[in-house]
Amino acid sequence: MKSVKVIVPFLLALSLLSFSSFGFQSDELLVDDEEFGLEGSPQHRSSEPVLTRSQPVTRKRHSDLDSDSKIQFSLDHAFGDSDFSPAGTFSARLKTWSHGGQTLTKLRFSRNSFTDENKEKFKNLLKSDDFYRIRLPSKALSPPGRDFVISSVKARCLLREGLDEHFVIHMEGVNVLAVNYGSPGSCPYPRNLKFPAKWSFNSHTVLKNSEQAPRAPVFTEEILGDENAEGEVVQPPERPFWAKYWMYLIPLGLIVMNAVTQAMNMPEEQASGQAPAQGQPSAGAVQRGPSSAARRR
């Protein structure tokens, strides 16, 4: 099943390549491609997992079809309840996937250094233990989009040696869903007042896309379709023979033992009583054996 999944896009990509080499391009094919791609793999919107799953194939593809472009969007900040003002810019590469999806990669952030006025405002925030707020446009391509995504943190949480900040930007395609802003480490509760030694930001940024949910296990399908899974299911017969059939084996053994002891007894008695009869082959003679022995006693 899995191998089939890999093969399908691979074949498609091959056919695609061959088509393009002939100089014929069908606009229909892209749509087909998307649908086929989806047949096996649930990835539709966040395409990075696709990349990791069947790397050689997709790489070939996006070298042909994907186009990259650079985009920029700005980060605004606000001190307490003041208005937002520009604080820095994010730049990223916009990747357009063959199936129409777009994602941002290679995010870089450059922060404007604090002006004296900003420093003063930030000090006030530290004194009053107030919020330092940032915002990003919700659409990276066409800012500001529908609304800004805002995040805020107590200013005292950012203090280390200098100012440490940590952005987690949750993306949904090219839309910014949310930004989580805060210190990269912990921020223990009684937040003490201190001032930064140097006014430079140490920024960490992380781009996050949605994870895929694990699919519900479908046991029956796996048995039908997958060799590996079948191996697992066939496992029970691999239990030791003894473990499985002991309840039959023990009585069988006992019966055999009974029979053997009986059989052992008989020859003994026969041997003690009627030694010359040893070689007699007929069953009737064996049966008659003990009785004749009894008579003789």
């Binding site: 995040s151 943190v153 949480c157 869903l177 805060g182 009684p190 699919r215 479908v218 009585p251």
Partner: protein, 985 residues
């Protein structure tokens, strides 16, 4: 020998198998009704039809706003049968055909059904389609026949249908092509073969169609224009005349269409009533010769004399309800009117043509808490002296249903309880010395008899009759319905708020209504709409003398920015302690985790201008609040535009009036879901009052995982916007469901996961550190349930015993949500057979008992499912250590064990919500499920490990002790004697 050796392992195997069966939580037959109760309701009655002609059981057929069709016993008000139609199958009309079929028209006039009157079996069903949406009218003429078929005339979806009463076949149909024609009345003058359809077209045109009832042929079509337009309602005053109002509501129009000629007669209302003020509305009725209009609060009865001449017969300021006319004898029609005056209601039954003469005039004392009469239905019977008697069915403001006859309330039904919107639990008063137990066992003989019966039962000597007596004694045990607190905390009051704006206190022992209270109406607010219920004061510790009270938040009017009303109600007595009419709206209520010295809980009310108001408005509350000012955060969900915002307090309100209890707020964070790909369909927070016993979870290999327990996590589910259509509107490729766990203080997305090919509706429950949600998987064509558990990694290194011993751990340090969380999540999905109406989780006093999910299934039952089945650590082949820990081998679907339906054989029709309340006994939780029906039971998810069960044999224990003591004495004697003999030797 051989055979035995074969059997022993087999026997052992059987024994092992039996003992390994998981303990099933179920009841024995004789335990039904001991701890649970079930009540059946129908909802507010919209329409009622009496069936009393035949000599059989007298009954009334009702249709209700909860979409119930029910047949009620006229003598006692009990339900003979009942059908709950779906929520999208709203009943438009009911009637009785041929005296033995109940005909219902529902679903916007497109489904016509016939039910057998005695037992409620469906006889036939017809789908009536039409070109356009329109008002639906149902008419069941008594004497209209087409080829021996009795005919039902239905106007729906812009088409007139004649349907056979016997088999539901459509005999003929007639389209009304006119674009904007809106039918108002379908009239069938008795004794003729004509059907008149009258209505308005293009707001100023009156149209009349005359149709041959035999074949649907259009005989005549007339229209007339009235320049100033009409109001939509009409009142039928005779089979050839309707009365309507012009669009300004100031001119009465008598529209007669005798012989197909339409003529208008205008009469300004001011000519009839001198001091009329404001526009009038007409109350749609069909009483021959009389109609009713209402201006402001004045109800005016007007009689039609001659052709288009009106005469005012009565004006009244009282709230009045009028019934339709009821033919009582040849040419005589009676109708009833019910007026509300103070603590009484006045009934009058009059003949339609003779206003001044009353056939019946009575006054009945009425409970104030029932409010005003909303509807009245009349029925007549022949008295023993051959005169006419009348019985009236009244629907009151609190949605209760009463039958009045001979000046008394024959029966009443609290049908407001069919539409509960919020529930909270309250303790009962403590048992004081004054309340004696002697009252319980009033009679020594009774007491002796009871114990004799019980003894017989234990010795298995009881006859079936005795068994029944014992059973009823157990069920009616006065112990469980006492009005005092019990040691185990099983007896409580359930305070419920109904859609009618009435509070009820139900006793958990037997479900009886202890008190009820209709929300107070004030000058400022005529019709408060109840919204929510909060616990205002829960006295314990230092304020035990206070009675507990609840806070009812209601809104004064339908719009969301209408001013709010707060009512404080004592839960012991049901008295309203105080009522505040607010000047601001109430958009959000945040119960704060702080209480003042009288145990009043602080509440923050957020209005539509985003100001936060603190209640109670006392300086003490303010000082407590100021202390925690910077630690208060909340969130709001704007699901129409897909934004979730976090808020905090800023400063005092800036305004002309200084209000020190009002605070400005500010936005701290926002999450904006892209409108083209995600739409919020469910948000579930953690329960506020939930208790978590331990934050650590010891897993199989002696490892510890720390649960990420934060009160400030919100579960959000979004789906592709296309998915909001019906089933089949999307392919699996274009549908997805994204589940989020969001920290509501900082707006951090702690976890985000996409389910491809999944769609809503999503039902979820959030407890401790896990969330379970239910959705539909389009790829697998099945419902699925997923679980997400979230664990804290920042505490994960606290595993070293020495660290714990020397206190070098961070388990006691305060947690700040501003720290970057180090969490890991575990999740798993399973198939589930049922679609779900509600999910809840059991909650116990200390949170020690393992949890069960309570799933309200589509069959209106409640299924208890162990949380262990939804453990993301389940695997196909658990190791021995994992098995010992109680991990169940992974299966692809969740098992549904028939015995684990906690509703056993009952159904909670129209199930809407499940509420769990912890009892004082740790093992037990109280479960209340509500819908149209109510169901309550006690549940012990891990069995009652902390108390002896009811069937514990005390006698056996006693006998054992006695036997042991006797044995000790005997052996002691024996040993002594032996010793003596030894010494003598």
């Amino acid at each position: 020998m051989a055979i035995r050796s074969f059997f022993i392992p087999f026997l052992l195997f059987v024994l092992c198998f039996c003992s390994s069966l998981s303990p099933v939580l179920s009841l024995y037959e004789d335990q039904v009704g001991l701890m649970d109760w079930h009540q059946q309701y129908i909802g507010k009655v919209k329409q009622a039809v009496f069936s009393t002609q035949k000599t059989g059981r007298r009954r009334v057929i009702v249709s209700t706003e909860e979409n119930v069709i029910a047949s009620l016993d006229l003598r006692h008000g009990e339900i003979f049968w009942r059908h709950l139609l779906g929520s999208n199958d709203v009943i438009n009309g009911i009637d009785i055909g041929l005296g033995k079929y109940v005909i219902t028209l529902s679903s916007g006039g497109s489904i016509l059904r016939s039910w057998n009157l005695p037992d409620g079996q469906m006889v036939w069903e017809s789908f009536l389609q039409g070109p356009k949406h329109s008002k639906s009218l149902l008419l069941v003429p008594t004497n209209l026949k087409i080829e021996k078929d009795n005919v039902i005339v239905v106007f729906s979806n812009g088409r007139l249908h004649a349907v056979s009463c016997i088999d539901g076949e459509v005999l003929w149909k007639k389209d009304f092509e006119a674009e904007s024609f809106e039918a108002q009345q379908v009239i069938q003058p008795s004794g003729s073969d004509l059907i008149y359809v009258v209505g308005f077209s293009a707001s100023s045109q009156f149209k009349m169609y005359q149709i041959n009832a035999r074949n649907g042929e259009l005989l005549k079509h007339e229209s007339a224009t009235f320049s100033s337009g009409f109001l939509r309602e009409v009142s039928l005053v005779s089979s050839e005349m309707v009365v309507a109002l012009d669009s300004t509501g100031s001119i009465l129009l008598a529209i007669s269409f005798q012989n197909g000629e339409i003529s208008f007669q205008e009469t300004p209302i001011s000519n009839l009533v001198e001091d009329s003020s404001g526009p009038a509305v007409i109350i749609p009725l069909s009483v021959p010769g009389i109609f009713v209009i209402k201006t402001n609060s004045v109800t005016i009865f007007i009689k039609v004399i001659g052709k288009g001449k009106f005469e005012v017969v009565e004006k009244t300021n009282h709230e009045t309800a009028v019934s339709n006319a009821l033919p009582i004898s040849e040419g005589q029609q009676a109708f009833a009117l019910v007026q509300h005056a103070g603590s009484e209601i006045h009934l009058a039954v009059k003949l339609a043509h003779d206003w001044d003469d009353n056939l019946l005039k009575e006054s009945i004392k009425m409970d104030q808490q029932r409010g005003i009469p909303h509807k009245v239905f009349i029925n007549n019977y022949i008295r023993t002296d051959r005169s006419h008697g009348f019985r009236l069915l009244i629907v009151m403001e609190d949605h209760s249903l009463l039958l009045l006859q001979q000046g008394a309330v024959v029966w009443s039904r609290e049908d407001g309880l069919a539409s509960i919107i919020d529930v909270t639990a309250s303790e009962l008063p403590l048992e004081r010395d004054g309340v004696s137990v002697a009252k319980v066992e009033h009679n020594l003989f009774e007491w002796l008899k009871g114990h004799m019966l019980k003894l017989k039962g234990t010795l298995m000597l009881a006859s079936p009759k005795d068994v029944a007596a014992i059973q009823s004694m157990r069920i009616k045990s006065s112990e469980k319905s006492k009005m005092t607190r019990d040691h185990n905390g099983f007896r409580k009051l359930l305070i419920v708020l109904t859609r009618a704006g009435k509070l009820f206190a139900l006793h958990t022992g037997d479900g009886r209504v202890v008190w009820s209270h209709l929300l107070h109406k004030s000058e400022a607010c005529q019709s408060p709409i109840g919204l929510n219920l909060y616990q205002w004061q829960v006295p314990h510790h230092h304020a035990l003398d206070e009675n507990p009270s609840v806070l009812v938040i209601s809104r004064c009017g339908p719009s969301s920015d209408a001013p709010g009303v707060l009512s404080f109600v004592d839960t012991y007595t049901g008295k309203e302690l105080n009522s505040l009419s607010l000047i601001h709206a109430v958009v959000q209520v945040i119960p704060l985790p702080y209480t003042d010295s009288t145990e009043q809980r602080l509440h923050l009310l957020v209005d539509s201008d985003k100001h936060a108001h603190l209640y109670p408005k006392t300086s003490e509350a303010l000082s407590i609040f100021k202390h925690e000012f910077s630690n208060i955060y909340w969130y709001s969900v704007e699901d129409h535009n897909g934004i979730i915002k976090g808020h905090a307090l800023k400063c005092m309100c800036i305004g002309e009036v200084v209000d020190e209890f009002c605070f400005d707020t500010r936005d701290l964070w926002s999450v904006v879901f892209p409108s083209e790909s995600e739409k919020i369909i469910a948000t579930v927070p953690r329960k506020l009052n939930e208790v978590v016993h331990t934050q650590a979870k010891v897993i199989a290999d002696q490892d510890v995982m720390y649960k990420y327990i934060s009160r400030n996590i919100l579960f959000v589910a979004t789906v592709a916007p296309k998915c909001s259509g019906g089933i089949g509107s999307v392919t699996p490729e274009e549908s997805w469901l994204v589940a989020y766990l969001i920290d509501t203080v900082t707006g951090r997305i702690l976890h985000r996961v996409t389910h491809h090919g999944a769609r809503g509706p999503v039902h979820a429950v959030f407890s401790e550190n896990w969330v379970v949600y239910h959705y539909f998987n389009l790829r697998a064509h099945r419902y699925e349930m997923s679980v997400i558990e979230i664990y804290d990694q920042s505490r994960a290194d606290n595993k070293d015993v020495w660290k714990l011993v020397f206190g070098k751990h961070n388990l006691t340090s305060p947690i700040s949500l501003f720290s970057r969380p180090e969490v890991i999540t575990k999740s798993q999905s399973y198939f589930f057979t049922h679609s779900v109406k509600a999910i809840a989780v059991t909650s116990t006093a200390k949170g020690i008992t393992s949890e069960q999910l309570l799933i309200g299934t589509i069959g209106d039952q409640v299924l208890a499912l162990d949380k262990r089945f939804l453990d993301p650590r389940r695997s196909v082949n658990p190791t021995q250590a994992e098995k010992e820990e109680g991990i169940i081998p992974l299966t692809d679907s969740l098992p549904i064990i028939p015995q684990s339906y906690i509703t056993h054989a009952l159904r909670v029709e129209g199930l809407r919500g499940i509420i769990t309340v912890p009892a004082k006994l740790e093992s037990t939780t109280l479960v209340f499920a509500h819908g149209v029906d109510l169901f309550f039971t006690q549940l012990a998810p891990s069995r009652t490990y902390d108390s002896l069960t009811e069937d514990f044999s005390y006698a056996l224990l006693l006998i054992t002790i006695v036997a042991l003591v006797a044995a000790i004495i005997v052996t002691w004697r024996l040993s002594e004697r032996k010793e003596l003999q030894d010494k003598w030797r």
